[in-house]
Amino acid sequence: AAGVIQSPRHLIKEKRETATLKCYPIPRHDTVYWYQQGPGQDPQFLISFYEKMQSDKGSIPDRFSAQQFSDYHSELNMSSLELGDSALYFCASSLGGQGAYEQYFGPGTRLTVT
Protein backbone atom coordinates (compact mmCIF):
# COMPACT_ATOMS: atom_id res chain seq x y z
CA ALA A 1 0.00 0.00 0.00
CA ALA A 2 1.15 3.52 -0.73
CA GLY A 3 2.55 5.40 2.21
CA VAL A 4 3.36 9.00 3.01
CA ILE A 5 6.37 10.22 1.06
CA GLN A 6 8.74 12.86 2.34
CA SER A 7 11.60 14.52 0.55
CA PRO A 8 14.39 14.99 0.96
CA ARG A 9 15.19 12.32 3.53
CA HIS A 10 18.29 14.13 4.70
CA LEU A 11 19.18 17.80 4.44
CA ILE A 12 22.18 19.73 5.66
CA LYS A 13 22.01 23.52 5.80
CA GLU A 14 24.01 26.30 7.34
CA LYS A 15 22.75 28.83 9.84
CA ARG A 16 20.60 31.57 8.33
CA GLU A 17 19.88 29.53 5.21
CA THR A 18 16.43 28.42 4.11
CA ALA A 19 15.05 24.92 3.67
CA THR A 20 11.95 23.44 2.09
CA LEU A 21 10.59 20.07 3.12
CA LYS A 22 8.00 18.28 1.03
CA CYS A 23 5.29 15.83 1.97
CA TYR A 24 3.14 13.73 -0.34
CA PRO A 25 0.18 12.22 1.51
CA ILE A 26 -1.35 8.83 0.97
CA PRO A 27 -3.58 8.97 -2.13
CA ARG A 28 -7.06 10.37 -1.34
CA HIS A 29 -5.93 11.71 2.03
CA ASP A 30 -6.88 15.36 2.34
CA THR A 31 -5.28 16.30 5.66
CA VAL A 32 -1.60 16.80 6.34
CA TYR A 33 0.18 17.32 9.67
CA TRP A 34 3.75 18.37 10.39
CA TYR A 35 5.69 17.34 13.50
CA GLN A 36 9.18 18.19 14.74
CA GLN A 37 11.21 15.76 16.82
CA GLY A 38 14.36 17.06 18.43
CA PRO A 39 17.11 14.71 19.65
CA GLY A 40 15.82 12.60 22.53
CA GLN A 41 12.43 14.32 22.41
CA ASP A 42 8.93 13.24 21.55
CA PRO A 43 7.39 14.56 18.32
CA GLN A 44 5.84 18.00 18.68
CA PHE A 45 2.98 19.17 16.49
CA LEU A 46 3.75 22.15 14.24
CA ILE A 47 0.85 22.73 11.88
CA SER A 48 -1.88 20.96 9.92
CA PHE A 49 -3.93 21.51 6.77
CA TYR A 50 -7.28 20.22 5.63
CA GLU A 51 -8.43 20.79 2.07
CA LYS A 52 -5.63 23.31 1.52
CA MET A 53 -6.64 25.43 4.50
CA GLN A 54 -4.73 25.62 7.78
CA SER A 55 -6.71 23.61 10.32
CA ASP A 56 -4.57 23.79 13.45
CA LYS A 57 -1.36 25.40 14.60
CA GLY A 58 1.06 24.29 17.27
CA SER A 59 4.50 25.39 18.32
CA ILE A 60 5.64 26.51 14.90
CA PRO A 61 8.16 29.37 14.87
CA ASP A 62 7.31 32.49 12.89
CA ARG A 63 10.33 31.73 10.70
CA PHE A 64 8.50 28.67 9.41
CA SER A 65 5.57 28.63 7.05
CA ALA A 66 3.68 25.87 5.34
CA GLN A 67 1.00 25.33 2.77
CA GLN A 68 -0.99 22.59 1.15
CA PHE A 69 -1.39 22.56 -2.60
CA SER A 70 -4.22 21.58 -4.91
CA ASP A 71 -2.82 18.04 -5.24
CA TYR A 72 -2.79 17.85 -1.41
CA HIS A 73 0.96 17.71 -1.09
CA SER A 74 2.39 20.06 1.49
CA GLU A 75 5.60 22.03 1.88
CA LEU A 76 7.21 23.30 5.05
CA ASN A 77 9.38 26.35 4.43
CA MET A 78 11.98 27.20 7.01
CA SER A 79 13.94 30.44 6.91
CA SER A 80 16.78 31.94 8.94
CA LEU A 81 17.69 28.47 10.12
CA GLU A 82 19.12 28.12 13.60
CA LEU A 83 21.16 25.33 15.13
CA GLY A 84 18.15 24.41 17.26
CA ASP A 85 16.14 23.64 14.16
CA SER A 86 18.18 20.48 13.70
CA ALA A 87 15.61 17.73 14.11
CA LEU A 88 13.63 15.00 12.46
CA TYR A 89 10.58 16.41 10.71
CA PHE A 90 7.65 14.10 10.22
CA CYS A 91 4.67 14.53 8.01
CA ALA A 92 1.48 12.57 8.58
CA SER A 93 -1.69 12.32 6.55
CA SER A 94 -5.26 11.31 7.21
CA LEU A 95 -8.63 11.16 5.53
CA GLY A 96 -9.99 14.13 7.41
CA GLY A 97 -13.40 14.58 5.94
CA GLN A 98 -14.62 11.00 6.16
CA GLY A 99 -14.57 10.41 9.89
CA ALA A 100 -11.49 8.21 9.94
CA TYR A 101 -8.83 10.73 10.99
CA GLU A 102 -6.21 8.10 11.84
CA GLN A 103 -2.84 9.60 11.00
CA TYR A 104 -0.20 7.75 9.05
CA PHE A 105 3.36 8.96 9.45
CA GLY A 106 5.99 9.35 6.77
CA PRO A 107 9.64 8.32 7.13
CA GLY A 108 10.74 11.80 8.15
CA THR A 109 13.29 14.33 6.93
CA ARG A 110 16.41 14.71 9.01
CA LEU A 111 17.52 18.34 8.98
CA THR A 112 20.96 19.21 10.23
CA VAL A 113 21.86 22.88 10.63
CA THR A 114 25.56 23.63 10.95
Binding site: G96, G99, E102, F105
Partner: protein
Protein backbone atom coordinates in the same frame (compact mmCIF):
# COMPACT_ATOMS: atom_id res chain seq x y z
CA UNK B 1 -5.15 20.68 27.43
CA UNK B 2 -4.47 17.08 26.57
CA UNK B 3 -1.32 15.70 28.21
CA UNK B 4 0.20 12.26 27.97
CA UNK B 5 2.50 10.69 30.52
CA UNK B 6 4.46 7.46 30.36
CA UNK B 7 6.33 5.47 32.91
CA UNK B 8 8.90 4.38 33.19
CA UNK B 9 10.88 6.70 30.92
CA UNK B 10 13.83 4.35 30.90
CA UNK B 11 13.67 0.60 31.22
CA UNK B 12 16.48 -1.88 31.23
CA UNK B 13 15.43 -5.48 31.36
CA UNK B 14 16.94 -8.89 30.83
CA UNK B 15 15.97 -11.15 28.00
CA UNK B 16 13.18 -13.51 28.90
CA UNK B 17 11.60 -11.22 31.47
CA UNK B 18 8.16 -9.60 31.40
CA UNK B 19 7.40 -5.96 31.96
CA UNK B 20 4.68 -3.34 31.48
CA UNK B 21 4.87 0.24 30.24
CA UNK B 22 2.10 2.56 31.41
CA UNK B 23 0.52 5.46 29.58
CA UNK B 24 -1.82 7.97 31.24
CA UNK B 25 -3.62 10.81 29.48
CA UNK B 26 -5.36 13.77 30.97
CA UNK B 27 -8.65 14.23 29.10
CA UNK B 28 -11.06 12.21 27.07
CA UNK B 29 -9.57 10.90 23.90
CA UNK B 30 -10.94 8.81 21.08
CA UNK B 31 -7.92 6.93 19.93
CA UNK B 32 -4.71 5.73 21.51
CA UNK B 33 -1.65 4.73 19.54
CA UNK B 34 1.51 2.87 20.42
CA UNK B 35 4.54 3.53 18.26
CA UNK B 36 8.01 2.09 18.17
CA UNK B 37 10.99 4.16 17.13
CA UNK B 38 14.52 2.93 16.56
CA UNK B 39 17.27 5.54 16.89
CA UNK B 40 17.13 8.04 14.02
CA UNK B 41 14.29 6.19 12.35
CA UNK B 42 10.64 6.84 11.67
CA UNK B 43 7.68 5.98 13.85
CA UNK B 44 6.44 2.44 13.39
CA UNK B 45 2.78 2.02 14.27
CA UNK B 46 2.27 -0.91 16.62
CA UNK B 47 -1.32 -0.64 17.83
CA UNK B 48 -4.35 1.63 17.52
CA UNK B 49 -6.86 1.21 20.35
CA UNK B 50 -10.29 2.67 19.85
CA UNK B 51 -12.57 1.58 22.64
CA UNK B 52 -12.67 0.80 26.33
CA UNK B 53 -11.41 -2.67 27.07
CA UNK B 54 -9.67 -3.00 23.72
CA UNK B 55 -6.79 -5.46 23.76
CA UNK B 56 -4.45 -6.11 20.87
CA UNK B 57 -1.50 -8.44 20.63
CA UNK B 58 1.33 -8.78 18.18
CA UNK B 59 4.11 -11.19 18.96
CA UNK B 60 5.58 -10.45 22.37
CA UNK B 61 3.70 -7.15 22.73
CA UNK B 62 0.18 -6.69 24.03
CA UNK B 63 -1.61 -3.37 24.44
CA UNK B 64 -4.78 -2.61 26.35
CA UNK B 65 -6.94 0.44 26.93
CA UNK B 66 -9.07 1.53 29.88
CA UNK B 67 -10.78 4.74 28.85
CA UNK B 68 -12.42 5.24 32.23
CA UNK B 69 -9.05 5.28 33.97
CA UNK B 70 -7.47 7.02 30.95
CA UNK B 71 -4.80 4.38 31.02
CA UNK B 72 -3.17 2.19 28.45
CA UNK B 73 -0.58 -0.49 29.03
CA UNK B 74 1.99 -2.08 26.76
CA UNK B 75 2.98 -5.46 28.12
CA UNK B 76 6.17 -7.14 27.02
CA UNK B 77 6.38 -10.89 27.35
CA UNK B 78 9.69 -12.78 27.39
CA UNK B 79 11.66 -9.83 26.08
CA UNK B 80 14.28 -10.29 23.38
CA UNK B 81 17.08 -7.93 22.37
CA UNK B 82 15.31 -6.96 19.14
CA UNK B 83 12.64 -5.19 21.18
CA UNK B 84 15.16 -2.57 22.28
CA UNK B 85 13.76 0.77 21.06
CA UNK B 86 11.81 3.80 22.26
CA UNK B 87 8.09 3.26 22.64
CA UNK B 88 5.69 6.18 22.44
CA UNK B 89 2.05 6.25 23.31
CA UNK B 90 -0.03 8.98 21.72
CA UNK B 91 -3.64 10.10 21.71
CA UNK B 92 -5.89 12.11 19.45
CA UNK B 93 -9.48 13.06 18.93
CA UNK B 94 -11.52 11.25 16.33
CA UNK B 95 -14.02 14.02 15.80
CA UNK B 96 -11.77 16.80 14.60
CA UNK B 97 -8.72 17.39 12.51
CA UNK B 98 -6.76 17.22 15.69
CA UNK B 99 -3.11 16.74 16.28
CA UNK B 100 -1.66 13.65 17.86
CA UNK B 101 -0.25 14.32 21.31
CA UNK B 102 2.70 12.13 22.18
CA UNK B 103 3.96 10.93 25.50
CA UNK B 104 7.64 11.43 26.35
CA UNK B 105 8.54 7.92 25.27
CA UNK B 106 9.94 4.92 27.11
CA UNK B 107 13.47 3.96 26.16
CA UNK B 108 13.67 0.19 26.42
CA UNK B 109 16.93 -1.68 26.53
CA UNK B 110 16.83 -5.47 26.58
CA UNK B 111 20.04 -6.96 27.85
CA UNK B 112 21.09 -10.42 26.64
Amino acid sequence: ELKVEQNPLFLSMQEGKNYTIYCNYSTTSDRLYWYRQDPGKSLESLFVLLSNGAVKQEGRLMASLDTKARLSTLHITAAVHDLSATYFCAVDKKTSYDKVIFGPGTSLSVIP
